[in-house]
């Protein structure tokens, strides 16, 4: 080292060799590794010292690989995934619609009635029928009261001779 803090050329070669040996042994710390990279990749004119080309190439390759990012899926596979996702989403929406849709009642075949208007009209129809049934019953009872024998000659059971 000179008084100005710069490394003499012969010392620089020695330092480079020491760093490279430690690097290859796997014992170089982070600071040493940064120094070695700087010596190999930032040399003036971009020239790598003879004998260290392979390590310099490794550093360049590692550096470029470290910047690689995960790509988005493209092409057929992506289209297939999108199509499957869309179909699954549509099926889920349809399923949800059928699950959430309220059942107002069941018809005579046991099928659920999910149409509100249909269910209402059906209920009204039943109510009308029920009223009609009551009216018919009332009329029958009245007829029976007025004419218990239904137009035939009445028979007194006590006078009947068997």
């Amino acid at each position: 080292m000179t008084e100005t803090g710069k490394i003499r050329p012969e010392n620089a070669a020695e330092r480079l060799e020491n760093l490279a040996v430690s690097y290859m042994e796997g014992t170089l710390d982070e600071a040493g590794e940064a120094e070695l990279k700087a010596m190999l990749l930032s040399s003036p004119g971009g020239e790598v010292p003879r004998g260290y080309e392979a390590i310099a190439l490794l550093f360049r390759g590692f550096g470029a690989m470290a910047q690689e990012r995960m790509p988005e899926r493209t092409g057929r596979k992506r289209l297939f995934i999108a199509a499957v996702s869309a179909a699954a989403a549509a099926a889920a929406v349809a399923g949800l619609f059928f699950i959430v849709r309220p059942v107002y009642g069941y018809d005579s075949f046991g099928k659920p009635i999910t149409d509100r208007e249909k269910a209402l009209s059906r209920t009204e129809c039943f109510q009308q029928l029920s009223r009609l049934d009551i009216s018919v019953k009332s009329a029958g009872e009245l007829a029976c009261f007025l004419d218990p024998c239904g137009g035939d000659e009445c028979v007194d059971p006590e006078k009947t001779d068997f």
Partner: protein, 167 residues
């Protein structure tokens, strides 16, 4: 609120992808590996909070996935590595291809150690945690891997130089 959510962040995802890419050498398979591992980690739920080093755990999961995939392959072609899309300069591209090819020729453990140390910048203690080995063993594997890489690159560069000189 779940802790350790950073393992689902983009930088970690990219890191898992690069690692899977180094081990498998196939872009689609590497993406499958990341998605599979991320899904498994997410499904772990609260159990993930007990993991001391989630990132090392994630990388170990990627490694397990990749080893399973490699076992499923009938023959692994270490020569075949896909082109990478992001490089702009041709020399940079050539460097990466050469380094990737050289890494692909290493045994799996050496590949893992050299990738995590020289590409991802992991410490030897973290790599030891991923591989489940001692730190001094990690350094030994790293040393062997770097020496092997240097040899492969010297040999390959000489071969290419002689090949282009003959033409």
């Amino acid at each position: 609120m779940r802790k350790n959510l950073h393992i689902f962040s983009e930088p970690v995802r990219d890191r898992m992808y690069r690692y899977a890419m180094t081990l498998l050498g196939d872009r689609d398979e590497a993406m499958d590996a990341v998605q599979d591992v991320a899904g498994k980690l997410w499904r772990m739920g609260p159990a993930m909070e007990k993991v001391k080093n989630p990132e090392a755990f994630a990388m170990r999961s990627v490694r397990n996935f990749c080893i399973d995939r490699l076992r499923c392959r009938k023959s692994v072609s270490r020569e075949m590595f896909p082109e990478i899309a992001y490089t702009a300069e041709a020399d940079k591209w050539a460097d990466v291809q050469l380094v990737r090819m050289a890494i692909g020729k290493l045994p799996e453990k050496q590949r893992t150690v050299v990738h995590l140390k020289d590409i991802e910048g992991f410490g030897t203690d973290e790599i030891a945690a991923v591989l489940g080995i001692q730190e001094n063993q990690t350094r030994m594997i790293l040393s062997r891997a770097r020496k092997a890489l240097k040899e492969i690159i010297i040999r390959e560069t000489a071969r290419r130089t002689s090949g282009s000189a003959e033409m």
